[in-house]
């Protein structure tokens, strides 16, 4: 099992990448001691969290790799969290988003971490919020979070990002579908990727039109950009747009609101994680709970009656 080395804190403060890597593991598995977290998560952080979401195949990974390259060339420190789904059957995962990351000469400045969703729906892993906070406290100027990419159900990104970027591809009508799923309410920036394909301008126009109906008097008018990320076209404009949004948040004092949302979400998901783990542990180690579940698998009891009894027992309310 991975442990916290005695000199983890010192190495962290020296910006040792290995210390960040190890802390991310401890935080993901919830094996970090709290006094360790308190020592590492000191004070305020300044970085921007950019969330990138969109349907599978729109080009999130390529877009992010170009964005990362752009920031690294400007001398910024960039962290990435790339999330892929865990298999509901085996609990394992293939984390393949790294494949599209460009080789970075400036490895001191770019840190890429893959994570599995581990049963979480909503597009993120339950650990994503606390791993994002770790990267921010480490001193990243930008933290880019890529969601699982189920597309329309990836709302959780709204809770951790300062800037939510929705990526779409031309045609296909995803943007029409998206209107049904609440995506328009969470977007700060829309990007039509693969803009070299036919229908890109029409897609851009249609989304712009739809956004007018959602313009709930925000300070920020949600722009709809076009890029061809695989050819690095217009990526500088996309990066500038993210900068503008961040500046707007800071000027309007909405930045604090985003932080509050992120911290609250980290708290909520941490508790949720603990509850699920308690239930899993009970099913692996508590004979009464194991036997209740086993009666359900034998079709011997009503599943809800058994479930209620198991839950009462887990809470310690059945004495």
């Amino acid at each position: 099992m991975k442990i916290a080395w005695p000199d983890l804190v010192d190495r962290w403060h020296q910006r040792d990448r290995r210390a960040l890597a190890r802390l991310l593991t401890l935080v993901e598995n919830d094996t970090a001691q709290f006094d360790l977290l308190n020592q590492l998560h000191r004070g305020d952080y300044q970085g921007q969290v950019i969330g990138v979401t969109g349907a599978p195949g729109v080009g999130k990974s390529t877009f992010i790799s170009r964005l990362v390259h752009h920031y690294a060339e400007r001398g910024e420190r960039v962290g990435c969290l790339l999330i892929d789904p865990s298999s509901p059957f085996s609990g394992g995962a293939i984390l393949g988003d790294r494949i599209r990351m460009l080789p970075e000469e400036a490895t001191e400045r770019v840190f890429v971490r893959s994570l599995a969703s581990r049963g979480s729906s909503g597009g993120l892993a339950l650990a994503a919020a606390r791993m994002t906070l770790a990267m921010l406290h480490f001193g990243m100027d930008r933290v880019i979070v890529e969601t699982v990419g189920a597309g329309q159900t990836d709302h959780d990104i709204y809770h951790i990002a300062d800037t939510v970027c929705i990526l779409v591809a031309p045609g296909g009508g995803d943007h029409i579908q998206a209107i049904k799923a609440g995506i328009f309410e969470i977007a700060d920036v829309f990007v039509v990727n693969k803009a070299d394909l036919p229908g890109a301008e029409i897609t851009q126009a249609e989304i712009t039109e739809m956004l007018h109906t959602f313009d709930a008097g925000k300070n920020w008018t949600v722009p709809v950009l076009t890029v061809v990320s695989k050819r690095n076209e217009h990526m500088a404009h996309a990066a500038e747009t993210f900068d503008k949004h961040f500046a707007e948040l800071q000027e309007s004092c909405d930045w604090k609101g985003r932080k509050v949302r992120r911290h609250t979400y980290a708290y909520d998901t941490y508790i949720q994680f603990q509850v699920m783990r308690t239930i899993a542990r009970a099913h692996n180690h508590d004979p009464k709970v194991e036997s209740l579940r086993s009666s359900v698998t034998q079709l011997a009891v009503d599943p809800i009656v058994a479930g209620a009894e198991a839950f009462r027992h887990i809470q310690g309310k059945d004495h």
């Binding site: 990448r17 890597a21 598995n29 609990g91 394992g92 995962a93 790294r98 494949i99 890429v112 899993a280």
Partner: protein, 141 residues
């Protein structure tokens, strides 16, 4: 959701070798066994592979090499891992590796080699045993 700690394994394809079917099959088998596999994709340098292992804080590093360059690549990766303070991460591999070379690699400190004829089951069993998991495949809830 399971309460077990998740084991993370890096599967890498170094160098000019463009044959990734084997690596993908092994990655898939490891995923089916409940592990989290970070797959690097093709044409990575030893430096990129070791940097990935560092950032991902993996429990194992596996190299798939069908190009014949295994002696040089394994040596280089081992050297870089040690330089980055990652010498404690077990290193294994597979591909087209003759028995003589397999013996030399194991002597060099590579932890396991799965050459032609071995099955993915062998790789999975080795990881399970090496990480102290019980023989019985407990599928996470």
């Amino acid at each position: 959701m399971s309460d077990q700690t998740h084991i993370r394994i890096l599967i890498a394809k170094p160098g000019l070798d463009g044959h990734d079917r084997g690596a993908k099959i092994v990655a898939r088998a490891l995923m089916d066994a409940g592990f989290e596999v970070v797959y690097t994709g093709l044409h990575k340098t030893p430096e990129q592979i070791v940097e990935s292992a560092l950032q991902e804080d993996v429990d194992y590093v596996g190299l798939s090499i069908l190009s014949g360059a295994h002696m040089t690549v394994f040596a280089k990766v081992k050297e870089l891992m040690a330089a980055q303070g990652l010498a404690d991460i077990p290193l294994f591999g597979g591909g087209i590796i003759p028995d003589d070379d397999k013996a030399k690699l194991l002597d060099m400190g590579v932890d396991a080699i799965f050459g032609p004829g071995t099955s993915t089951k062998d790789v999975v069993e080795w990881v399970r045993e090496h990480s102290g998991l019980p023989k019985e495949a407990g599928v996470p809830a």
